[in-house]
């Protein structure tokens, strides 16, 4: 296996993109990524696309060749692989593309993530979003995604003394960061009081604890590290790409206050990257629901179980603090186009490590982590990225 580097990044606006189609945003992200490297499309030999539910959202399956086709590459006939792992589809596509390059089968590939979510009414969107839970034993009994995270939140409060305000602060942080990201779905700051007073969705979670449905796409160009300098001045090394899984239904997990797949994926990633979590100060974490962000801080090993709430209220977490999370705005503010989330997280860490994050730049970071989750944690994918000096 050889080392793999990220040579280019691209991302579209996230939000309600009424005038843009699925294929348009996919192509835009891909070409932006290609343009930011010195590669051209003739150098590529494969395309990977993370997408969760194009069949349900826009009645279009077979999006691998579709995006390839409208990128003008149909005549090249190279493989185009659509990857699905629920909301972790983006990171799962990256993990597959990483293996393809690491193995030597492919040299240069584009890996993108895209989702077009606003072409269906809101209630239909919520139903599609619920498709990553167990349909027969959760959904049929009245579970929504928010309600499952609410069940985890309530038990976290019971077992660990976590307070309602603790996870509300995740949303406040996300919006603070999103206000500095021109590509974010939401660019308004919100107060802690606003999160606490928002309309209830599934107690203790309210509307501002839940990430929006967004349209959007993001893309990366990958290649072997050994020749990376030919194509970019600032290659970013993929130091670890690790996937872990668990029971699909929340009720079957050993402990609903811990996403064990995240614990395992992180542990494997730290071993592979030869790094301790205490040495990581920059991360993009999956917080489709605010409580999920708090749990990720613990499950990734940044804080012991039951102590992330205090760290949040003590101000240890925030841009330029001991730990910077979701400088992009996270899922809550940057937005949540399912298949694009895992790729957009990597795009943001690459920007930070290259020093290209503008007003939200955090200085002096050599390493960053991304955490992308499917369902309530049946799939967790952790990537560790480092600068190349």
């Amino acid at each position: 296996m050889r080392e793999v580097a990220i040579l280019g990044i691209g991302q579209t606006q996230f939000g309600e993109l009424w005038d843009r189609s699925f294929r348009e945003i996919g192509i835009e992200a891909g070409f932006k990524a290609l343009e930011s490297s010195k590669l051209s499309s003739k150098d590529l030999s494969a395309l990977y696309i993370g997408n969760m539910a194009s069949g349900a959202f826009i009645d279009q399956e077979h999006v691998g060749p579709l995006v390839l086709d409208y990128s003008g590459l149909a005549g090249h006939h190279f493989p185009s692989v659509r990857v699905e792992a629920g909301e972790a589809s983006g990171a799962m596509a990256l993990a597959q593309a990483y293996l393809a390059v690491a193995s030597g089968e492919h040299d240069f590939v584009v890996v993108g993530g895209a989702e077009k979510m606003t072409d269906v009414p809101d209630d239909r969107g919520a139903a599609i979003a619920s498709s990553t839970m167990d349909q027969e034993w959760e959904r049929v009994f009245g579970a929504s995604m928010a309600s499952l995270w609410a069940l985890a939140a309530r038990r976290h409060m019971i077992d660990h003394g976590t307070k309602r305000e603790d996870f509300a602060r995740i949303s406040v942080l996300d919006h603070e960061n999103g206000s500095k990201n021109p590509l974010a779905h939401f660019r308004n700051k919100i107060s802690l009081d606003a999160v606490l007073a928002a309309n209830p969705v599934a107690s203790p979670l309210g509307m501002l604890d839940c990430a929006p449905f967004s349209d959007g796409a993001a893309a990366l160009v990958l290649g072997p590290l050994e020749s990376a300098r030919k194509y970019t001045d600032t290659p970013i090394r993929i130091a670890a790409s690790q996937i872990a899984t668990d029971f699909v239904a929340l009720m079957h997990r050993k402990d609903v206050t811990t996403v064990e797949s995240t614990v395992v994926a992180a542990r494997r990633a730290y071993q592979r990257a030869k790094i301790e979590p205490s040495k990581i100060h920059l991360a993009e974490i999956h917080d489709a629901y605010s409580i999920g962000g708090l749990m990720a801080l613990e499950d990734l090993g940044f804080y012991r179980k039951g102590t992330a709430g205090k760290a949040l209220s003590d101000g240890e977490i925030g841009n330029g603090a001991r730990l910077t999370i979701n400088s992009s705005g996270g899922l809550k503010a940057q937005g949540q186009p399912f298949g694009a989330v895992g790729i957009a997280q990597v795009v943001e860490i690459v920007r930070q490590l290259r020093g290209e994050a503008g007003p939200r730049q955090v200085s002096g970071q050599e390493v960053g982590l991304t955490h992308n989750l499917g369902g309530t944690g049946a799939t967790s994918i952790v990537h560790v990225l480092t600068r190349v000096n």
Partner: protein, 141 residues
Amino acid sequence: MTVARFWRETLRRYNLGASKCPECQAVFFPPRSVCPNCSVHRKSLTKMEACQLSGRGEVYSYTTVHEAADGFEMQVPYVLALVKMAEGPMLTGQIVDVDPKDIREGLPVRATFRRLRADGDDGVIHYGYKFALENGAAAKK
């Protein structure tokens, strides 16, 4: 959801049909054909024993749902809970006939046969388990 897709699970949804591993004695709901606890999985394959849950359990976690899941719009606000059953498995289900303010972890509940949801205006009505507090449970609290 088609008629057949719901119908084929009625034994579980109506009668709490479960399964038990002959190796480690763990009980699973819904029933599993392989035991996830036993390290040699093939030992349990084809040997899992059918059994039935008593319907008794206690509240492990709970939420009051205000933004309904698809098909449950007429029921808001409703209480959804994780219920730890006496035999071991955890189930996800609604708690009915209760003021949401009275729900606490640890309260004893019993499964009750209820209408879950209808498949649109002219579709099949789905039935299955919900939970109700054991008599006087809330008052005792």
